[in-house]
């Protein structure tokens, strides 16, 4: 059936020849373009294409200043050192590094991980470390071993979009708890847990980023950390401490990790993605003995073993290079970028806008004047060649439309200034429209908004 039907009354058509028998009807195609559409698990149904996510496709173009992603800037890494180290690794230990390894992770890197955690006051044994494919996988495995569908995870509001996505993929309900300038509020935490239990729900753990939280940039003070721990001990609630940015403290020495204050009630997640490089995908979980055993079995079920070559590569880097000094140089670089962003915000932002003042990490959290909607404003920003992540991505309950997350990690200071200038212009025009149309409060959006993918700068 090479051709199907030619419109009979069209001037250009050369094939009009009357009379002719009625054209044979082609067989009707009825498709949803996915023959397995009825077969997916319930948890798969929320995995959908998203217009917001599609808008991030322009973010990596050079014309656009992207303040949207969370890519560390690794251009300052000494590539010659890494190259020599890898060459040496392959020549001396190549057959081990390219072989299967332990589901828990290789012993030498688990020892080095304990040294790294020592910088934040954690005393740990390598036996209690499970190496994972980035700390994202640690989060996935922790959720897998703890959470049934319908269970509750308590999280700060706002919280890391990648964690919310993981929780959702296990059909976990996220209950948010408000923060103040010192971190998560313990009275609200206690209330939320009590209310969940009274409603017959089972809160499995508190998920918290105590240092330079993604997205808010807020850190828990030392006092607040003690209060959070005490509250969780009183409530008998496990704490999952996610700490990718702890060593990127820009203004002071790192604060002690929650895990340094409490062994049994805290499950700690760490990562080399920000202190070395994310492409190796090496992170870890430090867990009490029984939990660690479950995590290891879950890891074997998921991947057999975390990437062995990457573990050897990171281990060699830590052994052959002054990595702590490298972090000092990273911090100097990020400090200049953060300062550029804060100065530009001060200079350009329209009246009625507020923002956090992060002492480390990658992100500033902006609260726009009432009425603005960061999600519906994003296309305007893309037209003006600046990208950010709408605040709605960081809430499981539809809030955050008045907020946006700006990252200062990837673009250099002059680009950050230019990006903030463009954003301010976008906000002014949006405010103008809102004023014209007399719009009231910022709207609430249904469902979880996507954040940018990991490849977005």
């Amino acid at each position: 059936m090479g051709t199907w039907y030619f419109a009979g009354n069209v001037r250009q058509s050369r094939r009009v020849s009357l009379p002719q028998p009625p054209a044979p009807r082609p067989e009707r195609h009825d498709t949803r373009l996915d023959r397995y559409v009825e077969q997916y698990a319930d948890r798969t149904h929320t995995m959908q294409a998203s217009a917001v996510r599609a808008l991030f496709a322009v973010a990596n173009r050079p014309e656009v200043v992207s303040l949207a992603g969370g890519m560390p800037n690794i251009t300052d890494l000494p590539l010659n050192v890494v190259a020599d180290s890898l060459q040496n690794l392959i020549m001396t230990e190549g057959t081990k590094a390219m072989q299967y390894g332990s589901g828990q992770g290789e012993p030498m890197i688990r020892e080095q991980i304990c040294e790294v955690m020592g910088l934040e006051g954690i005393v740990a044994h390598p036996d209690d470390v499970v190496v994972t494919c980035g700390s994202q996988q640690a989060l996935d495995l922790v959720t897998r071993i703890f959470c049934n569908p319908g269970d509750v995870v308590i999280a700060e509001a706002p919280s890391y979009v990648g964690a919310l996505t993981t929780f959702r993929s296990y059909q976990v309900e996220v209950v948010h708890v408000t923060m103040d300038d010192d971190g998560i509020r313990t009275d609200a935490l206690a209330q939320a847990v009590t209310a969940c239990r009274a409603a017959g729900k089972n809160p499995k753990f508190l998920y918290t980023i105590p240092n330079f939280s993604n997205p808010s940039g807020i850190s828990q003070t030392a006092d607040r950390r003690r209060e959070v721990l005490q509250t969780c001990l009183d409530l008998d609630l496990l704490v999952v401490e996610d700490n990718p940015y702890g060593l990127l403290s820009l203004d002071a020495e790192p604060l002690p990790a929650l895990r340094s204050m409490e062994d049994e009630q805290v499950l700690y997640l760490g990562s080399f993605s920000k202190t070395f490089a994310p492409g190796f995908r090496i992170g870890w979980a430090l867990a009490p003995h029984a939990v660690r055993e479950k995590l290891t079995l879950a890891q074997e079920a998921a991947t057999l073993c975390p990437p062995v070559f990457s573990q050897y590569a990171v281990s060699s880097y830590l052994r052959d290079h002054d990595w702590q000094n490298q972090i000092v140089s990273f911090k100097d670089m990020y400090r200049a970028r953060r300062d550029a962003m804060l100065e530009a915000l001060e200079e350009y932002m329209p009246e009625g806008t507020t923002w956090t003042n992060p002492a480390g990490g990658f992100f500033v959290w902006v609260t726009m004047p009432e009425g603005l909607d960061s999600q519906s404003m994003l296309p305007r920003a893309v037209t003006d060649r600046v990208a950010y992540t709408p605040g709605t991505a960081f809430y499981a309950d539809g809030l955050g439309s008045r907020n946006l997350r700006l990252s200062f990690c990837y673009p250099p200071p002059d680009r950050i200034r230019e990006g903030v200038r463009r954003l301010a212009e976008v906000m002014r025009r949006e405010l103008d429209l809102h004023h014209t149309f007399g719009l009231g409060t910022s709207p609430r959006h249904d469902g979880l908004t996507s954040g940018p993918g990991p490849e977005v700068s």
């Binding site: 199907w4 419109a7 009707r28 373009l33 599609a54 496709a57 322009v58 519906s376 037209t383 149309f437």
Partner: protein, 318 residues
């Protein structure tokens, strides 16, 4: 099919800086692959400052633009092709410009006698100058609810909102203006959503079977368009013969009124009374894995690569 030695080289342009970059890249990859399968040498390129140099360094190549959204679909880039005397597939710059802007396209098609929704097109400045309240109320009174608010120049349903009452109209207007300075407000046409592709190549016109769109969620929005499984497509559409003929006739009338050539797609609603109503036309219809035109080709027994190759050969012979 000719031997590959005699087939022209093709430059597939996709990406760009529009809001539909992601969709365009998917369309570009699919068409490039289909053209390779039938034997063309294909260069895939984004649209950036290097593109003029690329076109100049391949003077014999035929450009296949798969850019969606502004610049790609609004005629600007085709104007450049015409200026540089680059051979390209599809409609002219002028026809693209008219077709892409819903505020102009709808009027041109209506003028040709095609049924279109009642529509108001307004730039955002007018609301500031004349006061939004009266204008918004006026639109509500003239068009009635529900109504559709759309950016005048955009695709993939981006920035489009169905508005059920007056209270929802201002936010929908603001959402549309985020995509551009002009918005169109139309009466909402209840009915079956159908797309009809028209293929003009080698002096022949072929109207492909109408594709009926049945989104599971009830709304053919971005997620319903680009999530496989989220929408059911029935091709040919389940319509009576007379209605099918009317839908095809509408598509042809629109294509002629707009002066389109090559491959175009006309989107419409079939009302409960069986009357097709024009919604929009596309000079660079989506070619992604979930797009409508490839489904129509499939139902017509046409191969995507062969159709694209015919379009390339025709452009090269022009």
């Amino acid at each position: 099919m000719s031997s590959s030695a005699s087939l022209p080289k093709v430059i597939v342009l996709a990406g760009g800086l529009s809001h539909e970059r992601d969709v365009s890249l998917r369309s570009g990859r699919r068409v490039a692959q289909a053209l390779r399968v039938v034997g063309h040498e294909v260069i895939e390129s984004d649209v950036s400052a290097d593109v003029v140099e690329l076109l100049r360094s391949h003077p014999d190549a035929v450009v296949f633009p798969l850019l969606h959204g502004e610049v790609g679909e609004d005629g600007a880039l085709r104007e450049v092709f015409e200026l540089l005397e680059v051979t390209f597939v599809g409609s002219s710059a002028a026809a693209s410009r008219v077709t892409f802007d819903k505020s102009i396209c709808t009027k041109v098609v209506a003028h040709a006698g095609v049924k279109t929704p009642r529509q108001v097109a307004l730039p955002h400045e007018i609301f500031r100058e004349l006061g939004a309240k009266a204008l918004v109320e006026g639109m509500g009174a003239r068009l009635g609810f529900p109504m559709m608010v759309k950016p005048a120049r955009s695709g993939s349903a981006l920035g489009c909102t169905k508005v059920d009452d007056l209270a929802g109209l201002p936010a929908a207007m603001v959402a549309a203006y985020a995509y551009g300075s002009v918005a169109v407000v139309e009466e909402f046409i209840e009915g079956t959503e159908v797309a009809v592709a028209v293929l003009d190549v080698d002096g022949e016109r072929q109207v492909l079977p109408a594709v009926e769109i049945r989104p599971e969620s009830g709304v053919y929005d971005y997620a319903a368009r680009y999530t496989a499984g989220a929408t059911r497509f029935v091709t040919p559409a389940e319509l009576d013969d007379e209605v099918t003929a009317a839908a095809e006739s509408l598509a042809v009338q629109a294509v002629e009124a707009l002066g389109l050539c090559g491959l175009s797609r006309v989107d419409m609603i079939i009302t409960a009374e069986g009357e097709p109503v024009f919604l929009e036309a596309n000079v660079a219809p989506g070619m992604t894995e979930t797009s409508l035109v490839p489904l129509a080709m499939d139902a017509a027994g046409l191969d995507l690569g062969e159709v694209c190759s015919r379009l390339v050969l025709e452009a090269a012979a022009r």
